[in-house]
Subunit: 427 residues, 2 copies
C-alpha cells in the first residue's frame, strides 16, 4: 500500500459535495487509498506532505470514452475528406502490433495523468497493452476486446474472459461492442449477457450519426436506444457513447433504465456529426452523463478540462440558452465519470476513494482567481496544463516538477518509434 | 532599435507562404524589426541566438477583437442569467478607474504575450491605460474610446484625436463604436469619417445577436451590414465584429467592400447567441476574416490557439461538413489578423515584419509530431501553453524560461488589487 499523503493547507478545496462547499486554507489527509480527513484538523503523519498553499484541490476527472492508442494517429491526414481519412486509419490499424499499441497507450496515459484524469474507459485493439500502460503509471482503466461483427463473437468472448481473469489492481474488463450497425441485435444481447456475467458493462457507440440512426430504423423499425431496450440490453451496466442523435423518448428511456451516457462534444464537432444531447435536461432528470474525449485522432487532445469547457459551449450554442453551467460540466466529468468507472469518488469527503487533482492557483490564466469564481476558472479558463499533481487511489502518480520532463523525454523516444511504424505503412 | 536575433536551426518552420512550405532544420535571422533571412544560409551575427532545434517557428497570432481590461471580470457571476450577469458587469464598469484598467490590461497582456499573440484590437474604457500596458510589454495594440450613444460624439471625437496625437510606437488609435443599436446611423457615419480622417478604422459590433438584427430591421428597414453600406460606412477600413447573424447578401457585400470581419466563436457560444458565420466560404471568396477572443468575461481565455480550434469545430458542427480545415483557422488568426492590425506579417519570409512565435516541438500534448501533421498539431492539439517565445517587431518580448515566473508573481499582486476593488463594489 502507498504512503499517507497530506495535502497541506490548500488555498481552496472544491469539494463538490451536496452543499457545494469550497474550503479555504484546509487540508486533506489520504491513507490506504482513501480520503481519511478533510478540514482544519488534519495533521501530518509520517508520509508525503505536499505544500498546497498555492493550490486548488479538487476531485480528479474521468475520461469515460476513449481509444487511448489512437494517439498514434493524432493529426494523421486530419483534414482530408472523411472516407479518405478513414482509409488511412484502417491501413494503419490493419498492421497494429501489441508493442505499437503499448507505446501509443503510454503517450495517452502520459497526457491523461498529467492533465488530471484518474481513469478512462477504453475501446481498442490489444487491450492488455493499454491496461499495462495504465497500470505502470497507476491510472484506472477499463479495457476489453472490441466486437466488430457477429462472426467474431466466440473469439471475442474468449478474449474477454481471459482478460477478466488476468486483470487486477486498477484495471478491469469491459465488454466493448462497436455498434448496432456492425453487430446484430442478437449478438449485442449475448455480449450484454456476458458483461453482466462478468459483473462488467456493455460499452457501445450509439446514435453518433444521423445516418446510423436512420439505418437502424430502416433495418429494425425502431431507433437504436429503443432497440437496445427491446432486446434487453439496456440497464445500469450499459454505457451508451455519443448519443447525439437520439430521440427525446430514447433519452427518457436511457434515464429510466439508469444507463450510463457518454458525451464527446469535441469529437462530434470535429467529425461534423452535428449531433448534440440535452446535457442539462438529462442531468437534471437524474441521468448519468459523463464526458469523454474519444480518441486523439478525432479530438485531438485527451485533456478533460478542455472537454468540459467545450461541452458547456456546445450546449449553449445549440439551445440558445445559458442554462447549462460550469457545474453541470464538472459534475459530468467528475461524478458521473466516477460512477461509470465504478469508483466511489467524485467528492472530497472522508471515506471516498482518494482520486484527486491539484491545480496551480497562481496560474497566469486563471487570474483574478477568487473563491467566488473558482468553478468558472476551472471549467472555462483552466486547461489540464494547470494541473500540478494527480493522485489516484491514494498514490501520487504525477507531480509536474518531478515527472513532466522525464515523460517528455520518454515521449520523444515513443514518437520516433511510432513515426517509423507509420512511415513503414504509409510511405 | 533591438538587437538582431537568430532563430537557429528550427526543427520546423511553418512559413504559411503561398506554397505552404514547411522548412526543416532551417534558421531565421531578424534585424531592425524585420525578417532578414530564412533558410539554411542565415548565419549568426552579434545579437541573440536562440537554439531552436526543439522548436516550431511560425508567424505570431493576432487577437482582432477583445476588451483587454475585462480580465478583471473573468468568471464574475459567470453562470447567472444574462441580464443578471450584465448588471454585475455594469455595476463594476461604472466605478472603473484608469489604474484598475491599467492593471487588468496588464493581466491580459501577460496572457496574450505568453500565448503567442503579437497584437490586439481593443474596445474599452480608459484606452490609454491599455495602450500603456501593451507598450510596456512590447505588443501591438489598437485602442480608442468607445462611442456608446449619440450625445457622446463630440467628447468621443475629442478623446480619439487626442489619443491619435499621443500614441506612438506599436500602439495606434482605432475608432470604436459600440453598435448600430446604441448609436444612430448618422453618428456612425460621422465616426467612420473620423476614422478615415485619422487613417484609422471603424471597429463596431455587428449582427452579434438575432435580436439586434431584427431590431435594426424594424427601425431602418434593412439589416445591419446593409445599413452600414447605405450610409457609406462600409469599406476596407471598417471592422465588423461577430457577424454571426448576417444575411448571405450582407456577407457578400462585406467581401465586396473589402471590410474586415472578426469571428469570435468561443464568446458567441458561451453567451448562447447561436450565431455563426460561413468562415470557409468567406475566406475562399476573398473575405478578410480574423479571429478574436472577445473579453475574458465571455470566453474566458485570451488564448488564440484555443480560439482557432473552436473556430473549426463550430464550423464543422454548424455545417455538418469537414470542409473547413486547420489551415483556414490559421490563416484567419495569422494572416487576416495581421491585415486587420495593419502589420505586414503573417508569413515567414524575408522583408516581412518580425512577429513570430516559437512552440515547444517536444510538448507531450503534440506527439507524435511530424512534418505531415504539424498544422493539425498547432490548431487542434496545441494551446498557447506550448509557446516558449514570442517575438514582436523583432524584439523577444516573452521567453518562458525568463518571464513566466516573474509575470506570475506580478499577476498575483494585480489579482489582490483587482479583488479588493471588486469587493469594494459588490460587497
Amino acid at each position: 500500500m502507498s504512503e499517507p499523503i497530506l495535502l497541506d493547507r490548500c488555498k481552496y478545496i472544491l469539494t463538490l459535495d451536496d452543499k457545494g462547499r469550497i474550503l479555504e486554507n484546509a487540508s486533506i489527509l489520504l491513507d490506504e487509498g482513501l480520503i481519511e480527513c478533510v478540514g482544519d484538523g488534519c495533521s501530518g503523519r509520517s508520509g508525503i506532505v505536499v505544500d498546497c498553499r498555492g493550490s486548488i484541490a479538487m476531485p480528479a476527472l474521468y475520461n469515460a470514452h476513449t481509444h487511448a492508442a489512437m494517439t498514434m494517429l493524432r493529426g494523421l491526414h486530419d483534414d482530408s475528406e472523411l472516407h479518405e481519412w478513414l482509409k488511412y486509419m484502417w491501413r494503419v490499424e490493419a498492421k497494429l502490433t501489441p508493442s505499437i499499441v503499448y507505446l501509443a497507450s503510454k503517450l495517452a496515459v502520459f497526457e491523461m495523468a498529467s492533465t488530471g484524469t484518474a481513469g478512462f474507459i477504453d475501446m481498442y485493439f490489444h487491450p492488455l497493452e493499454t491496461a499495462r500502460a495504465a497500470e505502470e503509471l497507476g491510472i484506472r482503466a477499463k479495457v476489453g476486446p472490441v466486437l466488430m461483427e457477429d462472426s467474431g463473437f466466440e473469439e471475442w468472448r474468449r478474449k474477454l474472459r481471459s482478460i477478466a481473469g488476468s486483470l487486477k489492481g486498477l484495471a478491469s474488463p469491459i465488454a466493448n461492442v462497436h455498434s448496432l450497425y456492425k453487430v446484430s441485435p442478437e449478438t449485442v444481447r449475448a455480449a450484454y449477457d456476458e458483461a453482466t456475467r462478468l459483473n462488467s458493462q456493455l460499452h457501445i457507440h450509439v446514435a453518433e450519426t444521423r445516418r446510423e440512426v436512420y439505418e437502424i430504423h430502416r433495418r429494425y423499425g425502431v431507433f437504436p436506444v429503443e432497440l437496445l431496450g427491446r432486446i434487453g440490453a439496456l440497464g445500469s451496466n450499459t454505457i451508451l457513447v455519443h448519443m447525439g442523435w437520439a430521440a427525446s423518448w430514447e433519452y427518457r428511456l436511457a434515464v429510466e433504465r439508469k444507463a450510463g451516457i457518454v458525451h464527446c462534444p469535441a469529437s462530434n464537432m470535429k467529425l461534423a456529426t452535428a449531433g448534440q444531447l440535452p446535457l442539462r435536461e438529462l442531468l437534471e432528470s437524474g441521468g448519468r452523463v459523463a464526458l469523454g474525449t474519444d480518441g486523439a485522432a478525432s479530438n485531438n487532445s485527451l485533456d478533460m478540462f478542455r472537454e468540459m469547457r467545450i461541452a458547456v459551449f456546445l450546449q449553449r450554442h445549440g439551445y440558445w440558452d445559458t442554462g447549462v453551467s460550469a457545474l453541470h460540466a464538472l459534475s459530468s466529468a467528475v461524478k458521473h465519470g466516477a460512477s461509470l468507472l465504478g469508483v466511489d469518488a467524485g467528492v472530497v469527503e472522508e471515506g471516498r476513494k482518494a482520486d484527486l487533482v491539484l491545480l496551480d492557483a497562481g496560474s497566469l490564466y486563471l487570474q483574478p482567481l477568487r473563491k467566488d469564481n473558482l468553478i468558472s476558472a476551472i471549467v472555462y479558463a483552466a486547461t489540464g496544463r494547470d494541473v500540478t499533481h494527480t493522485i489516484v487511489n491514494g498514490r501520487l502518480i504525477y507531480s509536474r516538477g518531478r515527472n513532466l520532463e522525464e515523460w517528455r523525454r520518454e515521449a520523444a523516444g515513443i514518437t520516433d518509434r511510432l513515426s517509423d511504424f507509420l512511415y513503414s505503412i504509409l510511405g
